[in-house]
């Protein structure tokens, strides 16, 4: 229905509601933390929490641009495959082409950005829906990773390369700094800049954004490229952490990432969402997995919990949103 009735019970306004949603989520997280912490004394230790940060960095790095994308009403299912492709090209260019490792890292980031750029250009120029474009490249990029590598691993990177993945910097896992910086930058960009405002405008009303002179296509192209680039970065961090390049790296990441973003209150319909929500979403999933594992729940049961939480939280979020819009 195009004509939504006019001003009604207009008590609810976005910031209040957003705050509320994230507060709620954070509150649930807090309760879960305390509960799980009570059940296992090793859960709420700084060591464990930092370590969980290390383990979730790869997913986290991708979830940030994914938040941007979902806010515009898009989606990127190909991120996991881009991780695989970049990991392979990192190892391949280093070992087979003989690139110096720093160059190989640059190359793999470039490939990630190019893969994202291809998604973006087809989505904006040919107007292929993001869901289907990235399903296609989900298969394509993984296929390239498998085809190029013939599923062979690359190992034996120089020791310095493992710093990011395995060492600590100022007592905090090195890659966590990367994630923290990325979080702060993304949050500021989304909340404070014209770029971020444009993302919300596109998600809420793409035509109006276009008619307001906002560079809609360029912004979309940037976020899909960014998504590819971050997937490339995530691949480098992952390879550094596990010391090996394999073509099956990143399989299923897209689902983890989307689950975290959606759990964090970003609407899959676009227009609504924050980086802080995503951060809480990531923390929630990782700590839920970890906490449940530590209290003796097996991995398979944890997956069930995550799936249920995802559906329920979307249900709650969408009914809240509907009420807010008064439909």
């Amino acid at each position: 229905m195009s004509e939504i009735p006019l001003a009604q019970a207009a008590k609810r306004v976005i910031p209040w509601w957003l705050l509320r949603h994230e507060t709620m989520l954070a509150l649930i997280l807090l309760i879960a933390l305390i509960g799980l912490g009570g059940m296992n004394s090793r859960f709420l230790t700084l060591d464990n929490l930092l370590n969980q940060g290390r383990l979730t960095t790869e997913v986290g790095l991708i979830a940030l641009p994914m938040t941007f994308i979902i806010i515009t009403g898009g989606i990127d299912l190909s991120v996991g495959s881009i991780v695989g492709l970049c990991a392979i090209l990192l190892g391949y260019s280093w070992k087979t082409f003989g690139f110096p490792l720093p160059l190989a890292i640059g190359f793999s980031l470039l490939v990630g950005a190019a893969a994202g750029f291809l998604n973006g250009i087809v989505i904006t120029k040919v107007k292929v829906p993001p869901l289907i474009m990235t399903i296609a490249t989900l298969a394509l990029y993984r296929g390239l990773a498998e085809g190029i590598s013939q599923a062979r691993s690359v190992r034996g990177y120089p020791e310095w390369f493992y710093f990011v993945g395995q060492e600590n910097l100022l007592g905090v896992p090195a890659q966590l700094w990367l994630l923290l910086i990325a979080i702060v930058v993304s949050a500021v960009v989304l909340d404070r800049t014209t770029f971020g405002r444009t993302l919300y405008a596109i998600g809420n009303n793409e035509t109006a954004a276009r008619f307001s002179g906002l560079p809609v296509d360029r912004v979309k192209l940037i976020i899909y490229t960014l998504s590819g680039l971050m997937a490339g970065l995530s691949a480098c961090v992952l390879v550094s952490r596990v010391t090996t390049t394999r073509s099956d790296m990143g399989i299923g990441y897209e689902l983890d990432v989307i689950a975290a973003v959606v759990l964090g209150g970003t609407s899959i319909f676009g227009g609504v969402g924050t980086i802080w929500g995503t951060v809480v979403g990531i923390a929630m999933i990782q700590l839920l997995k970890n906490g449940l594992a530590l209290t003796g729940v097996k991995g398979d049961a944890t997956i069930v919990v995550i799936g249920t939480v995802l559906i329920l939280s979307t249900l709650v979020a969408s009914s809240l949103q509907r009420r807010r819009e008064g439909v």
């Binding site: 859960f43 383990l55 090996t244 530590l294």
Partner: protein, 371 residues
């Protein structure tokens, strides 16, 4: 759409150009040398030079000698018959020992980064020992070293890590031993000068890749007339394995006299493909597999012999080894370890404990096993 098909054809043609490369992949994917055994059992093998202990050591492990310990077992993946069997062996051992608790938990797909997360979680939760079967020998090393550094004992089984990342590795059977058993069976069942093909998981799965490399070396050395037609990959996927085996049968026709299944998934699927093609007796199926999945084919005389160590024993042995390590009865430099009903197991290769020779299931004995 026309464009799409044109592109697909073009793509297929291009790929065909790169095709021949796929045939030369029998180097084990790990740059290690092969070591084929002697052709006949009577011939003496050159005894390998005694190797010094090259495993790792936990730092400040609490002394739990004789005390109850809690272990966790993180296999490559959960939900396949093989690792269900090793898990059963561990429970058996735990019951026999009385002072061991062991729990199996792991990823639902054989993904190394998932496996690392599981191990990491268990390090935090504070177990006394970790049993593992590695998805990737190198990638798993850092997290295992972390476990050692936290005073947790680490013992591998089935699939090794780099030696310094664990204390001991329980080797089900040496690669060259498996290779010899497989190739000898094939030469016997299919014929010395016949062609065969292999269905494996992937060209780079550590164990499978090594076995194939050793099989290649051993066949060159002892059965040079066997014709190695092709190796195809089918991951750990039942239906893909079946389809790949069927395709091989159709592709090579009479030239194909034997199929190797390199995984417990690929072997029954290959046997099924042969059965469906009504070629039982014409195409020999030899492979690594668990008995339950193979019973129909062995009982129908479509498959004569299934090569495997007993995975229940493997899990059992791994648990005993862990107990011995914690108790201090297995120290670097030891030459053997006591493993309950399995008796004394030998230390080989510095820090590996050998379960024994591969076990061959036949129609006569297969009904005695249930896993």
């Amino acid at each position: 759409m026309k464009l799409g098909l044109a592109a697909a054809f073009l793509g297929a043609t291009l790929l065909a150009g790169t095709a021949s490369a796929a045939d030369k992949r029998w180097d084990g994917a790990d740059d290690l040398p092969v070591n084929p055994l002697a052709c006949s059992a009577g011939e003496a093998n050159a005894a390998p030079a005694a190797k010094l202990y090259d495993g790792g050591k936990p730092t400040n492990a609490p002394d739990k000698a004789g005390k109850p310990i809690t272990l966790v077992d993180v296999p490559k993946l959960i939900g396949i018959g093989y690792f269900n069997a090793t898990s059963k062996g561990m429970q058996d051992a735990a019951k026999a020992l009385g002072n061991v608790t062991v729990k199996t938990d792991g990823p639902t797909e054989a993904k190394i980064d998932e496996q690392i997360k599981f191990i990491d979680n268990y390090i935090t939760s504070g177990v006394d020992g970790i049993l593992f079967a590695a998805n990737d020998p190198v990638a798993i090393a850092p997290v295992l070293k972390k476990a050692l550094s936290k005073g947790i004992h680490v013992v591998g089984y089935d699939a090794n890590s780099t030696p310094d990342a664990r204390e001991w590795f329980v080797n089900q059977a040496e690669f060259n031993g498996i290779a010899k058993a497989m190739i000898d069976s094939m030469a016997k069942e299919a014929g010395e000068d016949k062609g065969f093909a292999i269905v494996t998981s992937t060209f780079t799965t550590p164990n499978q890749a090594r076995w194939i490399a050793e099989m290649w070396a051993y066949a060159q050395k002892c059965h040079p007339k066997l014709k190695w037609l092709e190796t195809v990959e089918a991951q750990e996927d039942n239906n893909l394995s079946f389809n790949q085996a069927t395709t091989l049968i159709n592709k090579h026709g009479d030239k194909l006299a034997g199929l190797f299944g390199m995984t417990s998934v690929a072997t029954p699927a290959s046997a099924e493909a042969v059965t469906k093609a009504k070629l039982c007796g014409k195409i020999a199926v030899v492979g690594l597999a668990t008995p339950n999945a193979m019973k129909p084919y062995v009982n129908a005389d479509c498959v004569k012999s299934v090569v495997l160590w007993n995975p229940v024993d493997l899990g059992y042995a791994a648990t005993y080894v862990m107990r011995a390590v914690v108790d201090g009865s297995l120290k670097p430099g030891a030459t053997s370890v006591e493993a309950g009903k399995l008796g004394k197991l030998n230390v080989v290769n510095g820090s590996e404990i050998l379960l024994g020779s591969p076990f061959v299931f036949t129609k006569q004995n297969i009904k005695d096993f249930d896993f």
